[in-house]
């Protein structure tokens, strides 16, 4: 059975997880874009006090920020507004690393190519920067990724074909680097410019807008309950057979999650209703309480278990679990390939996702505007993600409790098995 799974499921699914484009996209978001948008989001929160609360301190905060709101929003506008530019660099850079190419040069090329397509190809002095900033941010993510991959592939193709200046040996490496990148830059950038011009001249849209129009049905579909449920089920089923589910799903879903997040932030800034529900924190903060599968409560049970093995694993797992890291639980309990525990492992989060979706869709919970690192502990994560809602923190705790209740009967059954097994083993050793 396990062997069959290894051969028929692990291999092909592992291939998806190993896909270099998907890995480059994920790295671009997690390594390159995350610090940028977290920093920007802080300014968004400062500039928008939670005015629904009529507290003295909040009123004082509001009075202080109102006259300088535009200035306070400047760092937000520029960081969120350049998210796609960062991602373009990140995709080019990460992909180039996988090819052993000059990663910085690939990143710069891809960033410049993306930048070029975000403007209407016309008299650039007549284009107000604010008008194109949207395309450099959330709305440009898809073209940024596409160009990041295409420019890097084109650069690789040219270098492999020998279409570069090769300097004689003995030339300092940094000089060599300039010349090696020069011809790919001179070929690829004009090509991108020509495409952007053709598109603009014929359709009067910029490339990001064109791609956005193509992708927008997908973006709205990804914001539905069924998409959220599908994502969580896929994540947990993958984990159940020992593959890092979040890793696989997020590499495809990140551009969608980030587009929703950026739209939410824009809506908050504009004072309109934010509609993005299915974002990364929707899973990492509000569903994976204590790690994938919402295992925090389960670990607490383990701490007090009558089974030696469960207690041991529980002790090692509790501290990382508080920071939502639970690989030791998934592999040590184990949940992987465990017919009893896989049931609550999949069922619990599916129930939580349903509850979360309702809470966000009905506006009971404020929208997610910040993506905290996934290691922020329960309660604080929800508080931060929603820009300071206590209720969101409490919902996280509630979700943790729900998962724990669902785990309980299955945990007891598994514990009973283990205790019996341990007793039999002990009896055997005392006989011998």
């Amino acid at each position: 059975m396990i062997e069959w799974l290894e051969n028929h499921l692990m291999e092909p699914l592992g291939k998806i997880a190993q896909n270099r484009y998907l890995q480059a996209i994920r790295d671009a978001f997690v390594i390159f874009a995350l610090p940028v948008i977290i920093t920007g989001a802080i300014f968004l929160i400062i500039a928008n006090p939670p005015t629904s609360l009529d507290w003295g301190i909040i009123n004082a905060w509001e009075d202080a920020v109102t006259p300088i709101q535009a200035q306070l929003l400047f760092p937000f506008n520029l960081t969120f507004g350049l998210m796609a530019l960062t991602v373009a660099f990140g995709v080019g850079y990460s992909l180039a690393i996988r090819y052993d190419m000059d990663a910085v040069m690939a990143g710069i090329l891809s960033m410049l190519a993306f930048f070029m397509t975000a403007f209407p190809v016309t008299d650039i002095t007549q284009v107000p920067f604010g008008e194109i900033l949207n395309y450099l941010g959330g709305q440009g993510l898809f073209i940024a990724i596409i160009l990041g991959i295409l420019t890097t592939e084109a650069m690789r193709f040219l270098i492999n074909k020998g279409v570069t200046f090769e300097m004689p040996a003995g030339v300092p490496p940094y000089v060599m680097r300039t010349f090696r990148a020069l011809i790919p830059f001179m070929i690829i950038l004009p090509l991108v410019w020509a495409i952007a011009w053709i598109v603009w001249a014929n359709f009067e849209v910029t490339l990001p807008q064109l791609v956005l129009d193509l992708f927008s049905p997908l973006v709205s579909a990804s914001n539905s309950y069924w998409a959220a449920l599908g994502m969580i089920l896929l994540m947990l089923i993958l984990w159940s057979i020992g593959i890092h589910g979040m890793n696989v799903v997020s590499s495809v879903a990140y551009p969608f999650w980030m587009t929703q997040l950026a739209e939410n932030a824009d809506a908050v800034k504009a004072g309109t209703e934010a509609t993005g529900i299915v974002t990364e924190p929707f899973f990492h903060m509000f569903t994976h309480i204590g790690g994938s599968g919402a295992t925090l409560g389960l670990v607490i049970f383990m701490l007090f278990s009558a089974s030696v093995q469960l207690k041991q694993v529980g002790k090692t797992a509790i501290i990382p679990s508080l920071f939502n890291i639970n690989e030791p639980v998934i592999f040590g309990l184990p949940i992987v390939l465990n017919p009893i525990l896989i049931i609550p492992f999949v069922l619990g989060p599916a129930v939580i996702v349903t509850i979360n979706y309702i809470l966000f869709a009905t506006g009971i919970l404020p929208p997610v505007v910040i993506q905290p690192p996934f290691t922020v502990p329960i309660f604080f994560g929800g508080f931060i993600a929603t820009g300071g809602s206590w209720l969101a923190g409490l919902v996280q705790i509630m979700n943790g409790v729900i998962a724990t209740i669902i785990y309980y009967p299955f945990f007891k059954k598994y514990e009973k098995q283990l205790v019996q097994q341990e007793q039999e083993e002990a009896a055997e050793t005392s006989v011998n």
Partner: protein, 107 residues
């Protein structure tokens, strides 16, 4: 058990979160036994850039599906690669993992 060269171990997971915890445990176990040893942690993605700094690598179970890719890189530098023993990983048992590493090197 004797090794006359310094052991430079890297433990890999997907982002470097659990592996850094395990790396610390292995380092502690090594110090207790009086070994000089470098133990680092990292994500499989970064492995390629720093593989040459190590002479042995371990893979955590959640990235088992990446073993082929990692092995290919490791082979280029003649670094032995194994999966961390699942139970030792669950219990963050530095001693047991250290034993596994010593065995890999002495083979």
């Amino acid at each position: 058990m004797e090794t006359n060269k310094d052991i430079k171990l890297i433990i890999l997971c997907s982002w470097g979160a659990t592996s850094s915890q395990l790396a610390k445990k292995v380092q502690e176990a090594a110090e207790k036994r009086g070994f000089t040893m470098t133990v680092d942690a990292g994500g499989t993605g970064e492995f390629k850039q720093k593989a040459e700094k190590y002479n042995v690598a371990l893979l955590e179970p959640q990235v088992r599906h990446l073993k082929k890719e990692v092995s290919k890189i490791a082979d280029a530098y003649q670094i032995p690669v194994e999966l961390v023993d699942q139970r030792a990983f669950a219990l963050m048992d530095g001693d047991k993992v250290l034993d596994q590493v010593l065995k890999m090197i002495n083979n």
